[in-house]
Structures are given as C-alpha cells and as structure tokens.
C-alpha cells in the first residue's frame, strides 16, 4: 500500500512540476476534436429518493467539438447512461382495496443529444493541467421501465435535457492538443408522471480527447 501511495505522490508532483513548463502550442482555431468519456452516474433528488438510489457504471458519452478559439469550443455531444435497481419484495397498493406483493424493479435509460459549449480559461498559457467548464442543452430519449415481478411496462419519451459540467484536462504530447480529462456533469432531466419527478443525476467522467485531423 505504501508503495502505491509513493507512486501516486510522485506522479502528482511530476504533473505539478510539468505544469509549470510552458508548452509550445495549444488548441488551434478551426480544430475539430473528439472527446470520449466513460461515465459513472449518480441519481440525485427525487430520482434517488423515489426511483433508483444506486449509482451506475453503465454510462459513456462522446462529443465532437469545433475549436472556435483557443479557449472556446462548441459542438454536439451524445451519451448513454442506464440505471437499474431491484427492491426486495414488498406489498404495494395497486388499486382500490387491491394489494400486490412483488419485487419492484426500476430501470431508467438516458440518451441525450445536445449542443455543447466548452470553455478552458487557461488554454493560452499552454500548461499541462487545464481546468474547464462546459454546458449543454438538447433532447433526451428517456426510457423508464418498471416491473412488479416479471410484469410491467415502459414509458419511452423524448424530453429536454440540460447539463453543466466542470473538470480538468491533462494534456499530453508536444502539441498539447490531446489529453485525458476528468470531471463531473450535472444533468437536469425533467420528468413528471405517476408521482415520479425529475431524473436529475451527476455523472463522474474520465476520458480522452484528441484532434481528428
């Protein structure tokens, strides 16, 4: 364990030192970059309290971003995040003077397509560590399936979706045009039906970005 702590500490120090070194180039205007992220989703608010409390490692996203300036990029992003939770058997009131004992399973799939903006305020200093903020707005194909035992149904619909995020880009290569990124996205997913509310969630992301040409 001590060995891993030492290695991690050394890597962090190396990153910090290297971040003091000026790079020769950064993102260029007109550049097209692909961002690919793996995502861990965490339900929030009503979504967590009423529907699914477990986080989910079944998520990913990708963005195609056009570099408007060294600091600003705009593009489109798409993603997928699924949530699933099975609750132990309980008795539910399913009608007037009707009760049903069942194992309840909730399944939610969020598939957004958004217009996205990305701002890296320190891009022009050419350092390795680049903080960023992002925002997106678009449509979401939402699939909510609920089962009592093996019996149930689905509510599939298109909803609006809004997203705000922040994180850190770790550039690599001489040109500093590519890198790793880590960050978090808050997604606002409006939903109102059968007593269930918005499916807002937090996505923890890690991925890569690189120019396409």
């Amino acid at each position: 364990m001590t060995r891993y702590i030492k290695i991690s500490f050394t890597l962090i120090i190396m990153l910090l030192i290297s971040n003091l070194v000026k790079a020769q180039t950064t993102s260029k205007e007109g550049e097209l970059k692909l961002h690919l992220n793996y995502q861990y989703g965490i339900p929030l608010g009503d979504f967590k309290n009423d529907m699914i409390s477990n986080g989910s490692a079944r998520g990913y996203s990708g963005s195609l971003m056009y570099q408007i300036s060294p600091k600003w990029a705009a593009g489109i992003s798409a993603g997928y995040q699924s949530f699933l939770q099975k609750y132990p058997r309980a008795v539910y009131e399913t009608g007037d003077h009707e009760a049903t004992s069942a194992v309840l399973t909730n399944s939610v799939e969020i598939t957004p397509l958004m217009a996205t903006g990305l701002f890296t305020p320190l891009a022009e200093n050419g350092k390795i560590l680049q903080p960023y903020i992002s925002a997106g707005f678009g449509v979401n194909m939402l699939s909510f399936r609920q089962y009592l035992g093996e019996f149930g149904g689905a509510d599939n619909k298109a909803t609006l979706i809004a997203q705000g995020g922040a994180g850190l880009q770790i550039t690599f290569g001489k040109a500093k045009e590519s890198g790793f990124s880590i960050g978090a996205n808050y997604q606002y997913v409006p939903y109102q039906r059968n007593g269930y509310g918005n499916m807002n969630n937090l996505g923890l992301q890690a991925g890569l970005y690189f120019p396409l040409k």
């Binding site: 690919l36 079944r58 990913y60 099975k86 049903t100 194992v103 035992g149 890569l208």
Partner: protein, 211 residues
C-alpha cells in the same frame, strides 16, 4: 496532421461494449422474484361475520376460453393450502351441503397469447362451470364487481375466489368477497402453492374470524 490516435475509437468501443451495455431488468430475477401475489376484496364485507367455508374439490382450468375440470398435484396443493390458511384464520370447514358462509373456488387460467388478459372471458365461462346450483343456490347469478390488475399475462395464473353464500338469499346473487391471483414463473409447481397462498393471506389481515 497524421492522426496518432487511430486506435482510440476502437479501444473505447471495446470498453463500452464491456461496461456500457444495458442490463435487462428481468434477466436476474429468480422464479420467486418473478411472481406477484395480488388480492382484492369487497370493502363492504365484514369477514368476522363469516364463520364457515367450503372449498371446491377440484380446479376449473380455463385455457383460452376452453374450460375443463382437473385435479393435478399442484391443484391439490393449492386447495390444501387454502383450506389450511382458512382454518388458521378461524374459519370452519364444512361440507357444501351444510350451508357454508363462504364458497372457495380455485381456478387455473391460461392465456397463450400476449397482450392484455380478457377478464371478461374468464367471468363469462365462470358462471357456466361453477353453476350456483353447485353451492345449493341454483338460479342465482354471480356478481363480480371488481376490476383486477392490468398487467400483461404471458403464461398463466392461479385465481382463487371466495363467494358470499351467507347473504346469497338476501342479495339474490352470489357476490364475490375476495380474490387472490398468483402469477409469474413456477406458479404451477407444487412447491409454490403454500408460499403463494401464505403470501395472499399475509396481505389480507382482514381475513379472520372467531367462533
């Protein structure tokens, strides 16, 4: 500029294939977890007023509109489980000729088509098979006021009914007092019967009487 990261999309796609695939919500359900037990009852009935019951000696099998009378091992298990639970709740088993307060009928229902189950078909055939004459009330009709769940049926179910014979003469009809549905995987297994009937009674605490 030559793309040095041509391998990344493939790598990422592989990662997504392994980690990002959607889980089938029903894939990890055990047969026990797949089953649901639904009960409904006449809220105007006071089950304390009923003291005796009789139970049909076989099961009506309604298979896509065709009704036959059977007595399989699982039918026997359900009939026995119902008798045991009624007795545990204080009701006294009597012969159907001894004017029981409650009549109990167990039905095995099959629907081999997908889609919503047509309960109308079920009740249409019901009166024809369990003729009220069987309970000693010939000429009366069944009154079934409840509308049950709307879940999709893909296999079959056990439906257990309790009818009000105590007030049949006054009401001039045999009213449904209580219904229990057992649905899901393995409902026709002998080993499921006791567990299923226990579950139905566990969620029906109003089903009890004292002598």
């Amino acid at each position: 500029m030559k793309n040095k990261f041509w391998f990344v999309p493939g790598l990422f796609s592989s990662l997504l294939f392994v980690t990002g695939c959607s889980k089938d919500p029903l894939q990890n359900l055990t047969p026990e977890e797949s089953r649901i037990y639904t009960t409904s009852y006449d809220s105007s009935a006071n089950f304390q007023d009923y003291k005796t019951f009789s139970i049909a000696d076989s099961v009506a099998v309604i298979d896509n509109g065709v009704v036959v009378k059977q007595h399989s091992a699982s039918d026997e298990a359900y009939l026995n489980a119902m008798q045991n639970m009624m007795e545990q709740r204080g009701y006294l088993l009597v012969d159907k000729n001894q004017s029981p307060d409650i009549a109990i009928a167990v039905n095995r229902v099959y629907n081999t088509t997908t889609g919503f189950f047509d309960y109308g078909d079920y009740w249409d055939y019901y009166g024809g098979y369990w003729d009220p004459y069987y309970w000693g009330y010939g000429g009366y009709g069944y009154n079934v006021p409840f509308v049950f769940g709307v879940y999709q049926i893909t296999e079959g179910l056990y439906s257990i009914d309790m009818f009000d014979l105590k007030n049949a003469t006054t009401n001039q009809e045999i009213n449904l007092l209580w219904n229990g549905l057992v649905r899901g995987e393995g409902v026709f297994n002998v080993s499921t019967a006791t567990e299923a009937v226990n579950a139905l009674f566990a969620q029906s605490p109003y089903l009890n009487t004292t002598h």
